[in-house]
Symmetry: C2
Subunit: 351 residues, 2 copies
């Protein structure tokens, strides 16, 4: 049985250190909000849904200082932790969505500190459980998009390791396989940090699903050979119009799929849909340090003195996306209407 991506023990949040996979399986224990903040920043835990759950428990961990404190003191610790954890990474909206939800619960009336703590902890557990269920449901809806024998190209890791369990894009593949379909997967290695090679190839190999690892720049060659039936990726934030921020290189895949008439699908829980972002232009894109590009595994690969550009994400326009798979169903264009409907809010035209 696979180890869980993250596990709440009641006193600590235990995480698989994903920077070490697949070479080493090490569990790290977070006992204070700064531990979670650091784990998020250095990508020990990553993937939009997993970030939301990890940050939610990070808020609970603020109470490690709170025993015997007043309700008001405890409330302030939770609220401060939520604001602090929200700064860990900017692009995946699940992070801010989860900590704001935690802050809202922390702000509610509470008779005792113990009562407040229990309510806040219960909210983090609810976020975890909702993610677990959302992945199963979106896997079920998405599986209908895959036919027996399909070869799917995926980018980065939107699997069990990016979520509490099961995964979004890979959850769709797992659900299709569980439904008896034979699915094979082309895995973009996903430079610079190789989440495809390290995490997705590992997950698929463990699941016994045929996987072929390719360098990111081979996607067009594979599509040109007619070997890809669809592309399926996760998301870090989806704007109201369907514009989708996801791991850098996703835009490449979406643009390449178009001339080869390969459908391009996004799978994400509704917590990734940010109706406050009208378009991709409203999504902040994290830029990370040059040395992720100029070095590898401690080896310098580029000459000293050369600059690098290292955006962690890009934005794929909604018009390049054929469907967004969510736990409430499959959204089709026009996304401004379909996403708002699934999210349970009326379509709000841009002002």
């Amino acid at each position: 049985m696979r180890l869980p991506t993250l596990k709440w023990t009641g006193r600590a949040l235990e995480l698989i250190d994903q920077t070490l996979l697949p070479g080493e399986l090490r569990i790290i224990k977070c006992e204070r909000p700064p531990d979670v903040h650091a784990a998020i920043r250095r990508l020990a835990v990553r993937g939009a849904p997993a970030l939301g759950v990890a940050a939610a428990y990070g808020v609970v961990l603020a109470a490690a200082d709170g025993a015997g404190r007043s309700v008001e003191k405890l409330r302030r610790l939770f609220t401060e932790a939520a604001a602090y954890l929200e700064t860990a990474r900017p692009t995946a909206v699940n992070l801010s969505w989860a900590v704001r939800r935690m802050a809202a619960v922390a702000a509610e009336e509470a008779g005792t500190a113990e009562g407040l703590y229990e309510r806040v902890e219960a909210e983090a557990k609810a976020i975890e459980e909702e993610d677990r269920q959302a992945n199963r449901r979106l896997g079920h809806f998405g599986a209908a998009l895959l036919r027996d024998g399909d070869a799917v190209l995926t980018h980065c890791n939107a699997g069990a390791l990016a979520t509490v369990d099961y995964g979004t894009a890979l959850g769709v593949i797992y659900a299709a396989v569980e439904a008896g379909k034979r699915i094979s997967v082309f895995v973009d290695e996903t430079r610079p940090l190789l989440q495809g090679a390290r995490l997705t190839a590992w997950e698929l190999t463990q699941a016994g699903i045929p996987a072929t690892l390719i360098c990111d720049n081979m996607a067009a060659a594979v599509m040109a050979r007619g070997e890809v039936d669809c592309c399926l990726v996760g998301a870090d934030r989806i704007a109201a119009n369907g514009d989708t921020a996801n791991k850098i290189g996703t835009l490449n895949v979406a643009l390449l799929a178009r001339p080869f008439r390969v459908p391009f699908y996004v799978a994400a829980p509704l917590s990734t849909v940010d109706l406050n972002a009208q378009t991709g232009a409203d999504i902040p894109i994290e830029e990370r340090a040059d040395d992720e590009v100029t070095t590898f595994a401690g080896c310098r690969t580029a000459p000293l003195g050369v600059e690098a550009f290292n955006p962690a994400f890009d934005v794929t326009p909604g018009r390049l996306i054929d469907a967004v798979v969510t736990e409430a169903g499959v959204a089709r264009p026009p996304f401004a209407v379909s996403l708002a409907r699934l999210k349970g809010e009326p379509h709000r035209p841009a002002v």
Copy 2:
């Protein structure tokens, strides 16, 4: 002053071992045809024009055994070496073009073994000198395509290290800079073997030309920001209709350039144009070992048991190419006409 990519000493072919750059600058000495064959296969020397010149000298090295032999014996040694060296790598046509040219000279009448040796050695020197001059001339023609202030995106290494000197795609950039234009370059790192990060970034840094290293999967993001004015790459083989085999990932760049209306240019000597290949379907594509994809710098990056796909080249359709820069001028579509004209042969319609 830069060390030459390769140097004929009269007794040996000295090569920079490009697999070690930029960390280490080591010269390897090839004294027999198998030394050259091995250097080509393991990419110590690479780049279509450089392969042609290296293989030509590899043929000359067959005579290391030939002293005191008869003309016929020497001729056979040259001919066998040419056939042997042609097998080192399949895609770059310059390799077979050069060794066939060497074999043809070796087959000519010769009074003495010394005379035959001198003629064969002179042919290799001619191929080297022609490459040097071709790069300068194509640089001059290509520079007219670049405007002052342009940012050029390039893939792999088509620089001095891919040729005897100066380079093809980078030769165009060098010539534009020498003509007083300010040019900056986005350098695709070019997985799996990182010729962009290791070689192109190194050459440009040494030349003082502003270079920004990107992962291959960032090309679309950079184009989407409007930061790329044109794409410029080398070639390993250009078919009669303009279909161009070049380093894997070139097709990605060409397809991505189109929706952003970024011109896509190829720079190559006419020795890279193979009128015997009607289309890209006639170009053999080398597939290399999985471990180039599943490891990096000796570190395994992917789980054991996962398969990889590792084509060394892809084919960009001529319809995605705006111009082919050669030493005889700039070919524009339709390439079936323009390339044949520059090559000095009439257009031969497909049968």
